[in-house]
């Protein structure tokens, strides 16, 4: 018969006790799938259990998107629930505010200081709130704001915004820098590897 004791669930070695619930939020098309793949790959290389939950299909078309990455000794649900996110990495500031209630006490929110108007603002039905960053900082003590768009633009490719932000997170992730670089080599198309490594470096040293 196929019966198991529930005690032998722990399948990985994790001496530093790394456990992180991460949400990557932004606007469809900003590159959150690649970002989550890099984080997930780094976690595997660190010997952790990991799950990543992605969004494909209709909501990808310029809508609000959220990707979850969970790592630790053993991960069951791929979703991060309200009050559970240790890190929120936001590619757009309004999206940071939208998902901020998911942050855990002592969690960290990393915000790309970029503004993209959603359709209800474009049609004039709603206003884009003026004080987004102030509101988030008021809620969460650990808020890091970075103009990743500007950094990416200076590097010569606005698409590497995502990797700049990964760099910021990598620094405080508890996972070694070499592992991150290895993960980038694994995941990023070789053609764009050099600029992505530069983008990572900019974020890491921010």
């Amino acid at each position: 018969m196929h019966e198991y004791s529930i005690k032998n669930n722990i399948i990985n070695s994790n001496p530093k006790g790394i456990k992180a619930n991460i949400m990557i939020v932004g606007v469809g098309g900003q590159g959150s799938l690649l970002a989550s793949k890099v984080i997930g790959t780094a976690a595997i290389k660190k010997g952790l259990d990991v799950k990543v939950s992605e969004v494909h299909g209709m909501s990808q078309r310029g809508g609000s998107v959220v990707t979850y990455v969970k790592m630790g000794d053993r991960v069951y649900s791929p979703l991060v629930e309200k009050g559970e996110a240790d890190f929120i990495i936001s590619f757009e500031k309004l999206e940071a505010l939208r998902w901020a209630e998911y942050i855990a006490k002592d969690g960290t929110i990393i915000i790309n200081d970029q503004h993209i108007d959603p359709m209800p603002v474009i049609t004039g039905e709603k206003k884009y709130p003026l004080d987004v960053i102030e509101k988030i900082s008021g809620m969460c003590d650990n808020t890091i704001v970075i103009d990743a768009f500007d950094i990416a633009k200076n590097l010569g490719n606005i698409k590497v915004v995502n990797i700049v932000l990964i760099g910021v997170y990598a620094k405080i992730s508890g996972i070694e820098k070499e592992i991150w670089e290895e993960a980038l080599r694994d995941v990023v198309n070789e053609k764009y590897l050099a600029i992505n490594l530069k983008a990572f470096e900019e974020g890491y040293n921010y």
């Binding site: 990543v52 299909g57 709130p129």
Partner: protein, 583 residues
């Protein structure tokens, strides 16, 4: 070797490891990546079929010819494939046949939330349900074995959170699988009444044997913990439950049809409080109740939408919702619904349809976003291909005059999927409807798959292309127009002429998807503020790159691709190339 894999990718890997050699599908979220990944294996023949019914028929043929075959689709696709499904259950297989169906609880990218487990029950086909990517891989291999051992197709049910979650997969070697011999066997493969009656009896016998198997297989397992709470669950609900009930006992079902009745009875007998935790309909719960076993399930858990560990802890353990930081002025945060991309060819079409105040029967694809403000010009959307039949139905209900203000819009891939028969109906039954095929040269919403109108196969090889003009002529449509939806004036003129015509017409709105690699624009535009009179004409097209910042209208150069549709609406020539100082 360990790899972080999407559930869909792991299904493809398992298919490869099982030695299968034929894979068919029509793309549909959340199932598309299975076949995209299958196409990467050189030893597997893969194809995008025109629709799910054809896909399944091809896979059945391959199976009877002796190959292990797989057919993949989203939940609503199984409705299209239901006809062959119910009868392949009678014929059984030769090489193993696996049908993967991906449900979408929460309707992330679907028009309904149907629970495909009922197909397993209705068609007498066993169904497996994996709970992570590793199980996706091992279950698909097991499914091929079950298929051959019990001579039946096997369904694998995924849900979005399994299909689109990545978790760790241990890769294994590919199994050597030799094609089974093909032999004529009309008693098994020709389902006319005399033969089908005999096969029907075999089906009933097989299901009884499969129930015994379900009691014995490792696909269903008990994890003993505290016996105060016992949980029967499967798929993603297992993961949410493990998160919340760390010490409980679990009966984790990998085979959700037929159920292991003996195992369930024994498990139920040994726990104090029994819960059934499943998303959508009470499929497991109702069957267990019928056994006379009292359980708690949908009495406390929602039928609508996805579950989550928070829902379980609130509804079953009556815990307070997690204490979170209150977001200030939460209701003031504007929603961010999906929108047509900058440069999208559909934008021009819907701008014209709205301007002409037409009744628009719509269909399934990126262009369904034409129902959203500010374009807001689609009246209906039901299923693949429905736009055409519905326009015809409206005409038959309200008369020809109504047809003069009605059009059906349908994408190129959707048209081939199930629009052609609707168009034949219009011609045959003397309708006068106007149908617009939005031909963007690709299957867009699911992420750029080729289709019979694109001229390429799933592997990117050039192939014959359906000629929509000739096709329309061949079925009896005289009025066929090809137009560029970005040439707004001309497009408007053509639409007006065709809806006015007293016979059926087909307009092919031709312009490729802006996200295709070979589509190049000249780079972002900007608005010359000296020329702009802030009339906001340009904002009527609902382009996410044109923004009213309160005092003036500007272009978000990071989003703008430079398609120039906006400049065609500007009466003051205010749009110019960004970075062009002399303009």
């Amino acid at each position: 070797m360990k790899k972080l894999m999407l559930g869909n990718e792991a299904i493809a890997r398992g298919t490869y490891e099982a030695g299968a050699t034929v894979a068919t599908a029509y793309p549909g979220t959340p199932s598309t990546e299975i076949t995209e990944n299958l196409a990467k294996y050189d030893n597997i023949y893969s194809e995008w079929s025109p629709n799910e019914k054809v896909a399944l028929e091809v896979a059945i043929g391959a199976s009877i010819a002796g190959a292990r075959s797989i057919c993949c689709m989203k939940h609503v696709g199984l409705n299209v494939a239901a006809d062959p499904l119910f009868t392949v259950s009678y014929t059984g297989v030769n090489g193993g046949l696996v049908i993967v169906v991906a449900d979408d609880p929460g309707m992330h990218s679907s028009q309904n939330e149907q629970d495909s487990r009922f197909y397993a029950m209705a068609a007498n086909i066993p169904m497996l349900e994996p709970a992570d990517s590793m199980e996706c891989k091992t279950f698909v291999k097991q499914a091929f074995k079950i298929s051959e051992e019990f001579d039946c197709p096997v369904l694998i049910r995924l849900t979005t959170r399994i299909a689109h979650s990545r978790s760790i997969v241990e890769l294994e070697e590919k199994e050597e699988y030799k094609l089974k011999d093909y032999r004529k066997d009309p008693g098994k493969y020709v389902m006319m009444p005399a033969m089908a009656r005999k096969r029907r009896v075999e089906v009933v016998k097989r299901m009884a044997q499969l129930e015994t198997y379900s009691n014995e297989t490792e696909l269903n397992r008990i994890e003993w913990g505290s016996r105060d709470i016992g949980i029967i669950t499967s798929g993603i609900s297992y993961q949410y439950s493990k998160e919340v009930f760390k010490d409980a006992s679990f009966l984790k079902l990998g085979m959700v049809y037929p159920l292991p009745y003996d195992l369930i009875a024994r498990f139920a007998g040994e726990v104090k409080n029994l819960y059934v935790i499943e998303e959508l309909e009470p499929f497991l719960e109702n069957q267990i109740r019928k056994m006379g076993i009292p359980v708690t399930g949908k009495a406390v858990l929602p039928i609508v939408g996805e579950l989550s560990s928070n829902i379980l802890s609130e509804k079953i353990l009556n815990r307070e919702p997690m204490n979170t930081y209150p977001v200030p002025d939460k209701e003031q945060i504007p929603a961010r619904p999906p929108v047509m991309c900058p440069g999208c060819p559909h934008r021009g079409t819907f701008y014209v349809l709205k301007k002409l105040k037409l009744t628009v029967t719509g269909d399934i694809g990126c262009y369904t976003l034409g129902a959203q403000p500010p374009l807001a010009s689609m009246d209906t959307c039901v299923c693949m291909g429905a736009s055409i039949g519905m326009a015809h139905g409206m005409e038959k209900a309200r008369g020809r005059e109504f047809a003069r203000s009605t059009v059906a819009v349908i994408g190129d891939s959707t048209f081939v999927h199930s629009g052609i028969t609707g168009l034949i109906d219009i011609v045959y039954n003397k309708g006068t409807s106007t149908v617009i095929v939005l031909d963007n040269s690709i299957t867009g919403m699911t992420g750029h798959q080729h289709n019979p109108t694109s001229g390429y196969t799933i592997k990117g090889e050039p192939t014959k292309q359906v000629d929509l003009v000739k096709l329309a002529h061949a079925i009896g449509i005289e009025r066929v127009r090809v137009a560029d939806p970005y040439d707004i004036k001309e497009f408007e003129k053509i639409v007006k002429e065709e809806v006015a015509a007293d016979e059926p017409s087909l307009i092919i709105a031709q312009r490729p998807c802006a996200l295709l690699k070979n589509v190049k624009f000249e780079g972002p535009l900007r608005i010359n503020r000296e020329k702009c009179r802030t009339c906001k004409m340009c904002m009527k097209i609902g382009c996410p790159a044109i923004v009213d910042n309160g005092s003036y209208v500007e272009v978000n150069e990071a989003l703008c691709v430079g398609c120039g549709l906006c400049s065609k609406l500007c009466n003051f020539g205010a749009f110019e190339k960004a970075g062009d100082a002399n303009a």
